[in-house]
Symmetry: C2
Subunit: 90 residues, 2 copies
């Protein structure tokens, strides 16, 4: 078993309203950053996970997104394995 560090990014789908992004966009303009155009806000999850291989870790994270972490109607997600610590999960 290897312990993998994963990063999961969950992002509102293009075309869907993102009120938090709109609010930040507006606040940045008010503070003088008029050169900012489009702001979208998503979530990023960092997690550690014991798995047999990098592919198995990514697959488990994808299943978690499908079942719990992301809303399939309004959100897209990306899974990235960012690190591995050999033997740590045994």
């Amino acid at each position: 078993m290897t312990r993998y560090s994963l990063e999961i990014r969950i992002k509102p789908r293009p075309g869907l309203l993102d009120p938090e992004g709109k609010a930040i966009h507006h606040a940045l303009h008010s503070l003088g950053w008029g050169e900012v155009d489009e702001v979208r806000v998503g979530k990023v999850l960092y997690l550690d996970l014991d798995a047999d291989s990098e592919a198995a870790a990514a697959e488990a994270a994808t299943a978690m997104c499908r079942k719990l972490l992301a809303n399939p109607v309004t959100e897209d997600f990306e899974v990235a394995v960012t690190g591995a610590l050999e033997g740590a999960g045994s």
Copy 2:
């Protein structure tokens, strides 16, 4: 002027409580993913910005984080330039 796409990740500082991460960790265990260990939840902002150079774009985003986007007491942030579209912001 070039239009840059940036990705800003804002993450709770290590050692600080992250109740949302704890709740997700607990939910994943309840669903059978006992191999998940540590979950931290942050925000990711995607924004487009007109600037003269990649360094200027990253610098502006860093200033935004300091002034508005991140809480310096509880959060760390990372800025990454993920794309550039020459001449689009002119």
